[in-house]
């Protein structure tokens, strides 16, 4: 045994010397994301993981509070002067992290940095969000006018994430340095260090106009593996992880050092049906498919109760949602009747596709329920990414429909879900392949071309009644965002999936 004692002793010594999984210092808040965005520049990427970091370093003209109501941020007030001109009053005396004072020039510069008027090729991937803004006019030191090419009802929604960057500083350091080592904003935390694929370290900004955030240090770690994130939060290595799935939530709820916080979000699940070909070219079959699904059973059994049944794809918190429109009930008997009426008394065979890997059990349950009423479904699961994209580009052919979800890019407006899902415009998303509802395009266009919110509401109400009847999709439920949080931190999940950590407080 003599031979073994030495290596064992060495191992014991090594373990004794190694600093163990250590708890965080009191004034540090550590968040885990699956990755970092390629840049800290808030205008030059379009990634959720980047936005979550950016919002804590930069301010936009408007902000949304935890109840998702508009709040003044860099703009103290705003109003529409006419159908295409908006006036914003800027907050006075706001300081950037480098000490510069915010001016109207910075706002104009920030917007034109993305819209790049007169340039053929735009370098910002966010261009589409604000392409409606044709002109930014500086009226006086604290007033700017935004002029849109046509009435643009989504303007305020788009400006909630549209960070304002310092013109002088950016022109001095250049785009590349700004995105990697010299990011400067007006937000609660300022940039300290970015170790790629490891952590982004931020520090509270003393001159922030809201006051100082509760945590002095904010660290955003990149941890790609979910199991590793869970081990980290259990051992106090991180304080907050996102996207906790229904099967893991109970464990983290019961854990001595963590709790779980959920909020209903915009992400809506649906099965978009191919109306160009049989059997879903028939309205009765589409209605039958809707009646075949026991949505409550799926929510309760497969999603840990974290889901809200919806009548169409328009989410309850989105502007334009009509609560009068009722969801399809679960009625397999009626479904069979409708199917028979449509000319399929002995059922019909279909294929559905999905690349929504996290919700595979839901997909399988859906197809089973359809099969039970006679819509015998062959379920095909894809890896998200390349092959799936190719499939969608091939006009979604060789399929009768696709199970998926849509999160509106966090825009709380019916237009942000109706247009991509159901409008047939060639540049559109999935609707251009599948949806063929008479008059729907025109109504969607109508809804997005006026600022009169009452008129828009009426239009969207009309659309929801129409699509409830025509059923271009199987309507399912909206999802929840679930965070696991360390018990030493007080924070709650938000309906827009933001991590607005200014609201995070140490727990006593």
């Amino acid at each position: 045994m003599r031979h073994w004692s030495l290596p064992l002793l060495a191992l014991a010594l090594l373990l004794a010397l190694a600093p163990g999984a250590d708890a965080q210092p009191k004034d540090t808040l550590t968040v885990a994301l699956i990755s970092h965005a390629p840049t800290l520049d808030p205008h030059m990427h379009f990634e959720r993981v980047g936005i979550l970091v950016n919002i804590n370093m930069f301010d936009s003209l408007l902000h949304k509070n935890a109840r998702l109501e508009y709040e003044p941020s860099l703009a103290t007030s705003w109003k529409a002067l006419n159908d295409t001109t908006w006036e914003f009053k800027l907050r006075k005396g706001v300081k950037f992290h480098n000490g510069d004072t915010l001016t109207a020039e910075d706002v104009k510069f920030s917007i034109e940095r993305v819209t790049e008027p007169g340039k053929e090729k735009k370098k910002s991937p966010q261009y589409g969000n604000v392409r409606a803004i044709k002109d930014v006019r500086i009226v006086d030191a604290d007033t700017i006018h935004l002029v849109t090419d046509k009435p643009f009802p989504l303007l305020l929604e788009r400006l909630v994430f549209f960070p304002i960057v310092p013109k002088k500083h950016l022109e001095k350091v250049g785009d590349d340095a700004f995105g990697t080592t010299a990011a400067v904003g007006t937000g609660p935390w300022k940039f300290v260090e970015w170790k790629r694929d490891q952590y982004i370290r931020l520090e509270a900004f003393d001159g922030h106009w809201r006051g100082k955030p509760a945590f002095k240090h904010l660290v955003i770690r990149a941890i790609p593996e979910v199991a590793t994130q869970i081990a980290e939060i259990k051992t106090g290595g991180v304080d907050l992880i996102r996207n906790v799935s229904a099967d893991i939530a109970p464990e983290l709820k019961a854990h001595a050092q963590t709790y779980v916080s959920s909020a209903p979000i915009l992400r809506v699940h649906y099965v978009e049906l191919d109306m160009r070909s049989a059997p879903f070219d028939k309205k009765l079959v589409r209605q039958a498919a809707n009646l075949a699904i026991d949505k409550q059973a799926i929510i309760q059994r497969l999603m840990g109760g974290l889901g809200r049944q919806v009548a169409t794809v328009v989410q309850p918190p989105a502007f334009g949602h009509d609560p009068e429109v009722q969801p399809f009930p679960f009625d397999p008997k009626k479904a069979k009747e409708l199917l028979a009426q449509a000319g399929y008394p002995s059922g019909v065979d279909i294929t559905l596709h999905s690349a929504f890997v996290e919700f595979r059990p839901v997909f399988e349950a859906l197809t089973q329920m359809l099969t039970e009423v006679g819509i015998r479904t062959n379920a095909r699961m894809w890896d998200p990414g390349p092959a799936w994209n190719k499939f969608l580009q091939a006009e979604g052919k060789a399929t009768n429909g696709a199970y998926g979800s849509w999160g509106n890019y966090s825009v709380f407006d019916a237009d942000a879900v109706l247009h991509p899902l159901f409008h047939t415009e060639p540049g559109g998303w999935i609707g251009k392949h599948y949806t063929r509802v008479e008059g729907l395009d025109k109504l969607i266009d109508e809804g997005r071309s006026t600022l009169n919110q009452a008129a828009r509401k009426r239009t969207y109400s009309q659309i929801q009644k129409l699509i409830r009847e025509e059923a271009p999709a199987i309507y399912l439920f909206t999802q929840y965002d679930t965070l696991a949080i360390s018990k030493r931190v007080e924070y709650a999940a938000r309906g827009d999936e933001w991590l607005w950590l200014f609201d995070a407080k140490p727990k006593r």
């Binding site: 031979h3 090594l14 373990l15 190694a18 600093p19 163990g20 999984a21 250590d22 990755s35 390629p38 840049t39 030059m44 990427h45 053929e120 090729k121 991937p125 589409g128 590349d176 995105g179 170790k195 790629r196 694929d197 490891q198 952590y199 770690r221 990149a222 941890i223 790609p224 593996e225 199991a227 590793t228 081990a231 980290e232 259990k234 051992t235 290595g237 990414g385 390349p386 092959a387 994209n389 190719k390 580009q393 991509p420 060639p426 540049g427 998303w429």
Partner: protein, 305 residues
């Protein structure tokens, strides 16, 4: 001898070209990065981007351009990391991956050599049986599983080591242990069996008969000849280790090349995947070339041939 080296060098070039071609073909068969970069853009905007990225040319043209540039070390700019060159992204992370791989190889050898020799010498005894059993276990565990189990035991259960990251020396221990667990068993088996082959030979018996101490017999006489297969396998294992590092880096959030490549594949960032695979392949092939050279030194028979 020089003919031997030249043959090996030619083979090296063929392997590298083959690896590049396969990577290139698989990537381009897997889809259109432009639709991932701008999922909601109109087709006209996409066409512009496709042109800028050079993706509108026929595949053979693209491949020729890729090879031409790769020879000069230029793999183009990353689609995803704006404006950064793909080779810079890979090189920035290469030391981390090499460190992890070399450490793991070191630890694996440090375990395999003594234990392998010992179990060969004490064949059939308790230590030998224990070692053989462990080998069996170690080889049956997939890397990602070993990694997660080690996290659960050492970090969650016993709170001895950090779960993930690369910020302290303590954080290096678990990923290294994971990879060594994967390599050590095979090396151990090779050491044991080649020692067994050699230990019964006449020259070893002669050495013993001359009165050379047992320790010297094993280390000086037996091991020198038994080392040949070990060198070969170590070279081969190096490639496997780099492959294992890809998974290990993801599990332990290690900022290395493997994790970069996994992310790049997901984003269809062709230049980064190509640069990463190319450079990893270069390393594997070079290590094997070194092994060949080492052979010349260790085994004079080849030199004669």
């Amino acid at each position: 001898m020089s003919a031997f080296l030249v043959r090996r060098l030619v083979r090296l070039a063929v392997v590298i070209t083959g690896v590049s071609l396969v990577t290139f073909a698989i990537l381009h068969a897997s889809g259109d990065p432009v639709s991932l970069i701008m999922p909601e853009a109109p087709e006209a905007d996409r066409a512009v981007l496709r042109r800028t990225l050079g993706l509108h040319d026929p595949l053979p043209v693209q491949f020729a351009r890729f090879v031409g540039n790769a020879v000069t070390g230029n793999f183009g700019k990353s689609f995803f990391h704006h404006g950064q060159s793909a080779s810079a992204l890979v090189l920035e992370r290469m030391p981390t991956t090499l460190m992890l791989t070399v450490f793991s190889m070191g630890v694996a050898l440090a375990i395999a050599l003594p234990v392998g020799i010992y179990s060969a010498v004490r064949r059939g005894r308790a230590v030998d049986q224990l070692a053989t059993g462990t080998v069996f276990l170690g080889q049956s565990m997939p890397v990602f599983w070993t990694g997660i189990m080690l996290i659960l035991l050492f970090s969650v259960q016993w709170r001895l080591l950090p779960v993930s990251g690369w910020e302290s020396w303590a954080a290096v221990i678990l990923p290294t242990a994971t990879l060594s667990t994967f390599t050590a068993p095979l090396l151990l088996r090779i050491v044991r069996s080649s020692m067994l082959d050699v230990i019964g030979l006449d020259y070893v018996r002669t050495a013993r008969a001359k009165g050379v101490s047992e320790w010297l017999v094993i280390c000086r006489h037996a091991l020198k000849n038994a080392a040949l297969p070990l060198v070969t396998v170590t070279g081969l294992q190096f490639g496997l280790l780099l492959g294992g590092a890809v998974i290990t880096e993801t599990v332990f959030a290690v900022p290395g090349v493997g994790r970069l490549i996994v992310g790049a594949i997901r984003q269809l960032d062709f230049p980064v995947v190509q640069a990463g695979v190319f450079m990893l392949a270069m390393i594997v092939v070079s290590v094997n070339f070194l092994v060949d050279v080492l052979y010349l030194y260790l085994n004079p028979q080849i030199r004669v041939r």
